[in-house]
Amino acid sequence: MDVPPLMHFAKSACRALIGAGVSGAAMLLVAGCSDAGREEGDWRSQMGQIRSAMTASEEDPRMTEGIGAYRNYLEKATGLPVRMYESGSHNGAIQALSSGQADFVFLPAASYANVDAQIGDKAAPILAVRGVDGEMGYYSALIVKASSPYHRFEDLRGKTIGYVDFNSTSGYLYPRKRMREMGFNPDNFFGRVALAGGHTQAVMALGSDQFDATIINVGGGTPETGFTSGSLVTLARRGLIDLDDFRTLLTVGPMPQSSVIIRTDRPKEFQDLIRGALAALPYDEPDVWRSMGRADGASLTGVTREYYREVIDLRNEELVERRLAASGQVPE
């Protein structure tokens, strides 16, 4: 097992002192071995392996195609076997992290807020995506079928809305915030509410008339420049839909980017190593980075919980609203 050269000497020194039966003043030095008891590769022994989860539907299902190269990169960086779990929804990754079955995950902001509500400071965001134009946010779009009679948001009163997931930032949390800002209560404005389970599923469900409207993530641009990423564009590029079949009624954002969330009860050495290895990935292994569905030129930047403060507060407000709605206390 690899042991960093910088530590070789110190560890040998500890063993030598202890083995020689030190006395007197030297006892003080042995006290310096207090984090002793630790064996070679100690944090690795504690970890044994590294477990992570990826949500296939976050933006592009093909994101997980690069999983093999990504896993190899992490194994080379950490010297430990890496197990990657693919989750069909954000909730799978949330629960894996919250229950301690995963050591770190990539999650959208609202999903981190869920984790934060469950386990608090036992998990922390360490890196967030920075876009190719240096932006730290992305958008969502409320779309309808182009053949529908809906041309304004107001036209959707009493209709069926398909959200992505309760844990989706762009497909649930921020659009609902925007609706409230526009003077509409999302809990009684629509006639029926459904959850698609993913951005791709949301588009497909809209296309097959299961919803009248849905809300999905869009990126790779701004409302001014237009968008070049997100599930709508991705599906069109694969020939599964025609963009002309859809119409955007509303864009919302920017909102905080997805982030790497790590268990803080894991060894600090591991946390720092993962932060460093992932931050270096777009620079050292751009092909691996792109194979994960990430944009050339995008990168990861260090963040803390504070970056997600607004999302955490929003989610808490949402929970209150939903409870009030469930008890029939929400006014029009």
Binding site: D2, G79, D133, L273
Partner: protein, 300 residues
């Protein structure tokens, strides 16, 4: 004052008992050296030593943080020039050093960049693409001397950033006979297509947006070719030996990329050696300090 933790305390004490100069800057490079020797720009070159009591508060915060998180003793190694620092790094007498491109060049096979800083007023070091028509036989930036160049706009993202990347390759405005600033990235590429310009320079985000269609597998730039892709060269970077153990390198990077947020005192001091203003430490590719292999040769 010295910052040590656990093993480092014992290692330093044992070396002291053995009469070995633990802070000797010119001690032979040893792969199992117990201390992390950090090269820092200074007025005069001096042997590696523990941070001095009179050092700034930020310096103590920086060294203390590194010592704690890398579980090692930290020594400060002052260098009056980047060249001296780079030579010491290549020789293995320091473990990290802040150096520039000139200092990097003679040692580029043995050392690499790992960190630089992001200027809050500029784009991050996003790659820039130079694209020409596929039927154009010129395949290097150098071969485009005297040609006409098109940009996708006059903003920081579409103009300043691209020039910054070219400047890092030693290419200035005199390299091109004519420059055109188009309304958009798409328009810049259109100028190349109709031979009103020879090359378009776009940041990688703009290139992707302009070339990505919405039809099945659509790539709208099959008639063009990217002959060069490079990030703006870092002016200064923290460098390490290429054979540094990955774990130490990644942990060192990991501590630095979070520093602006969780240890601002340490960040302000640590980043001040790299730039007058910095928003955060930004990882850097190994060759961030050199002309990419592109200046005179084909890379793509």
């Amino acid at each position: 004052m010295r910052y040590v933790t656990g093993y480092g305390l014992v290692a330093a004490a044992m070396l002291g008992l053995a009469g070995v100069g633990v802070y000797a800057a010119n001690a032979p490079a040893r792969p199992d050296h117990p201390a992390l020797r950090i090269g820092i720009p200074a007025a005069t070159t001096a042997p590696c030593a523990p941070p001095a009591a009179g050092d700034p508060v930020g310096a103590h915060a920086y060294y203390k943080l590194i010592a704690e998180r890398l579980d090692t003793t930290v020594l400060a190694c002052p260098f009056a020039t980047h060249s001296e620092a780079a030579a010491a790094l290549a020789d293995g007498t320091v473990d990290t050093a802040i150096i520039d491109a000139v200092a990097f060049r003679p040692h580029e096979t043995r050392i690499r960049a790992i960190l630089t800083v992001r200027d809050p007023e500029l784009l991050p070091r996003v790659p820039v693409i130079a694209a020409v028509r596929k039927d154009d036989r010129r395949r290097t930036l150098g071969s485009l001397k005297g040609s006409s160049v098109a940009f996708g706009g006059k903003s920081i993202a579409y103009y300043d950033h691209e020039w910054r990347a070219l400047a890092g390759q030693g290419i200035g405005k005199e390299h091109f006979a004519r420059e055109t600033v188009a309304e958009s990235a798409e328009d810049a590429l259109a100028l190349v297509r109709k031979k009103s310009a020879d090359v378009a320079l776009l940041n990688s985000g703009a290139w992707r947006r302009a070339c990505t269609g919405t039809g099945t597998g659509a790539w709208l730039c099959d008639d063009l070719i990217a002959i060069w892709r490079g990030r703006p060269r870092a002016a200064l970077a923290i460098a390490v030996r290429r054979d540094m153990v990955p774990e130490i390198r990644y942990r060192f990077i990991g501590v630095h990329v979070a520093m602006h947020a969780d240890h601002p005192d340490a960040f302000n001091w640590g980043s001040s050696h790299l730039a007058g203003r910095a928003a955060e430490f930004e990882p850097a590719e190994a060759d961030a300090l050199i002309l990419t292999k592109s200046a005179g040769k084909t890379t793509l």
